[in-house]
C-alpha cells in the first residue's frame, strides 16, 4: 500500500503551518521527514495517520492494505504512550482485544512481537520498571502486533539518550532487513535520517514547504556510523537546513 500526500496545506487559526506539500510514500521504503523545530513535520504525520484533518489538500491510500493488517496506519510516539497500569504484554494485548484476538491467539502474536523486539523476558513488567529504550521497544512491539501497512514514527528516539538511540537504530534496521516495512519517520536528528531513510524529505521552517527530497541508495543494512558517503549526505542536509534552523530558532513563539 502506497501513501500519496496531495498538495496539502494547513492553518491553525491565522498561523499557517504547512503549505502545499505533495509527497509519495512508496511501499517497503522508509521516508524520513526532517526540518527545523516547529516546521509542522509532526503535524504532517498526524494528517497521514488520520489523527487530524488538513485545511486543504488530501492524503490518499493507494491500493489495499495487506491481508491480516489490523491497523494499517500505526503510530509510534515520541513519549511512548504506554498505559502505565498495564504490563508489557497487557499494553500489546490492548490493541488486539478489540479485534477479538484473545487467549492463545493473542499470546502467539504477543510472544512473536516480544521476541522480535528482544523483550521476551519482560512480558510481565510494568512500564515504570523499564528504561526509556525498553519502553520505546515495547511501543514498537505494540505497533508490530497490529501488522501495520505503514508505520508512522514521530521522533521515536528523541526522548532517549545517545547510546540507547544507537542501539535502537540498529534494532530498527534489523527489523526492516528481516521484513521490510513502509515507514514515515519524523525526526530532527539528521544522523537518524541518513541512517534509516531511503528518502529524506527536508521541510522549510514554518510555514513548512517542501525544500528538497534526497534519495539515499545505500541499503539500510550496509550503513554504518562514520560511512563517508552518509557523512556527505548528512552535511548536504545540514547545509540545506542550517539557515532555516537558525531563523526558526530566532522566531518569537506566539501562543
Amino acid at each position: 500500500m502506497d501513501i500519496i500526500v496531495n498538495s496539502l496545506s494547513h492553518c491553525y487559526g491565522s498561523t499557517e503551518v504547512l503549505r502545499d506539500i505533495s509527497l509519495d510514500i512508496p511501499a517497503g521504503r522508509v521516508v524520513c521527514l526532517v526540518g527545523p523545530s516547529g516546521c509542522g513535520k509532526s503535524t504532517l504525520l498526524r494528517f497521514i495517520g488520520g489523527l487530524e484533518c488538513p485545511s486543504k489538500g488530501e492524503v490518499l491510500q493507494v491500493g489495499n492494505p495487506p491481508k491480516g493488517s489490523l491497523n494499517p496506519l500505526t503510530f509510534v510516539f515520541q513519549d511512548f504512550a504506554l498505559l502505565p497500569w498495564r504490563t508489557v504484554q497487557g499494553n500489546i494485548s490492548l490493541v488486539l482485544e478489540d479485534h477479538g484476538i484473545r487467549g492463545a491467539a493473542a499470546r502467539d502474536i504477543i510472544g512473536d512481537t516480544l521476541a522480535r523486539t528482544k523483550l521476551s523476558d519482560f512480558a510481565d513488567a510494568l512500564p515504570k520498571q523499564l528504561s526509556g529504550g525498553m519502553k520505546q521497544r515495547v511501543a514498537i512491539a505494540r505497533a508490530l502486533a497490529v501488522k501495520p501497512a505503514v508505520m508512522l514514527l514521530d521522533e521515536p528516539l528523541s526522548a532517549l539518550d545517545a547510546q540507547t538511540r544507537e542501539l535502537l537504530m540498529d534494532d530498527l534496521v534489523s527489523l526492516w532487513t528481516r521484513q521490510p516495512f513502509t515507514a514515515v519517520y519524523v525526526t530532527h536528528n539528521l544522523a537518524e535520517a541518513v541512517r534509516l531513510g531511503h528518502k529524506v524529505v527536508v521541510l522549510s521552517r514554518r510555514p513548512g514547504r517542501l525544500r528538497e527530497i534526497v534519495e539515499i541508495d545505500t541499503p539500510l543494512a550496509d550503513r554504518a556510523a562514520g560511512d563517508a558517503e552518509l557523512e556527505k549526505v548528512q552535511k548536504q542536509l545540514w547545509n540545506l537546513m542550517r539557515d532555516e534552523a537558525r531563523a526558526a530558532d530566532e522566531e518569537l513563539v506566539d501562543v
Partner: protein, 270 residues
C-alpha cells in the same frame, strides 16, 4: 617553589544543602499523638485542672463504651448507621462518578452541568433535610437522599477534574490504534482517572459521615447520630464522647479502606 608547597589551600567538605521536602510515613507517630492527647486529658481530669463539666474522663468514656458493647446497644446503633452510610454513599458516589465522567467527555453535558454543580455545591445539605423529609418520607429514604446528595457534588468535581487530567497522548494512542470509543473510555480514561477519583472519594466519604449524623438527628430511633443527640440533650458527656469516638474511628477506618484500595488499584503509579 617551597613557598607554594607550604601554603596548602584549606580543604573542607562541601556543605550538604539538599534533601527534605519528601515526607515519608512514620508508623507509630500517629498513635503517639492520640495517646499523648488522651493521657493529658486523663491526667487533667483526675488532677482536677480540667473540670468534669468541660471534658469527661477518658477512662469513663471507655467504661461507657464497654457498657455499650456489653448491652449490645453498640451494634443496634452501629448497624442502621452503617447501612445508611453504605447505601447513601453508594448512590451518591456512583451517580457522581457517572455524571463526572459524562462532564469530562461531552461538551454539552459539561456546559450544562458544571454551573448546576457549582450552584448546588455550596448549599449546606443539612438545610435541605426538611425538604427531603417531605420528598422521601421520614423513614430511611430521606436519610439516603441526604447522604447521597452530599457525596454527589464533591465526587462529580473530583471525577471530571480527574478525567480532564488523563494524559491526552494516551487517548491519541488509543485512537491511532483504532480502538472503539467505549474501549478508550473503559481502558484508558477510567483507569487514568482512578487516582483522582479515589482521592475525591476520601473527601466525599468524610462528608458522608458528617451528614449521616445530621440525618439521624431527625426522626431516627437508632443510629449513632440519634445516640449522640440523645446524650447531648441530657448533657451526658461520657456518652456524647463515646459516640464521637465511634465516628472518629469510622472516619479512620474508611480512610484506611481507601488507602488499601489505592494500594491495590494504583500500584502502577511511579
Amino acid at each position: 617553589m617551597s613557598d607554594v608547597a607550604t601554603q596548602v589551600p584549606a580543604r573542607r567538605a562541601v556543605e550538604y544543602r539538599g534533601g527534605g521536602f519528601a515526607p515519608s510515613p512514620r508508623r507509630w507517630v500517629g498513635f503517639m499523638v492520640f495517646a499523648v492527647v488522651i493521657l493529658l486529658a486523663e491526667w487533667g481530669t483526675r488532677a482536677g485542672w480540667i473540670s468534669p463539666l468541660t471534658l469527661p474522663k477518658p477512662s469513663d468514656v471507655l467504661v461507657t463504651f464497654q457498657d455499650l458493647y456489653a448491652t449490645g446497644l453498640l451494634f443496634k446503633h452501629l448497624g442502621p448507621s452503617l447501612s445508611r452510610l453504605f447505601i447513601g454513599a453508594l448512590i451518591g458516589v456512583s451517580l457522581g462518578v457517572t455524571v463526572g465522567v459524562l462532564i469530562g467527555l461531552f461538551s454539552y453535558v459539561r456546559s450544562g452541568m458544571v454551573p448546576v454543580v457549582a450552584a448546588i455545591f455550596p448549599i449546606p445539605k443539612i438545610a435541605l433535610l426538611p425538604l427531603f423529609v417531605i420528598w422521601f418520607g421520614i423513614g430511611e429514604g430521606s436519610k439516603y437522599a441526604l447522604i447521597a446528595f452530599g457525596t454527589f457534588t464533591p465526587t462529580v468535581v473530583a471525577t471530571y477534574g480527574a478525567v480532564d487530567n488523563v494524559d491526552r497522548t494516551l487517548i491519541r494512542m488509543g485512537q491511532s490504534f483504532g480502538l472503539p470509543w467505549l474501549s478508550i473510555v473503559r481502558k484508558i480514561i477510567l483507569p487514568g482517572a482512578m487516582p483522582g477519583i479515589l482521592s475525591g472519594l476520601r473527601i466525599s466519604l468524610a462528608i458522608a459521615i458528617i451528614l449521616l449524623v445530621a440525618a439521624e438527628m431527625l426522626g431516627a430511633e437508632h443510629g449513632i447520630g440519634a445516640y449522640i443527640l440523645e446524650a447531648g440533650s441530657l448533657y451526658d458527656l461520657e456518652r456524647l464522647f463515646a459516640g464521637v469516638v465511634i465516628l472518629s474511628l469510622l472516619g479512620v477506618l474508611v480512610s484506611a479502606a481507601i488507602g488499601l484500595v489505592e494500594n491495590r488499584l494504583l500500584s502502577w503509579r511511579v
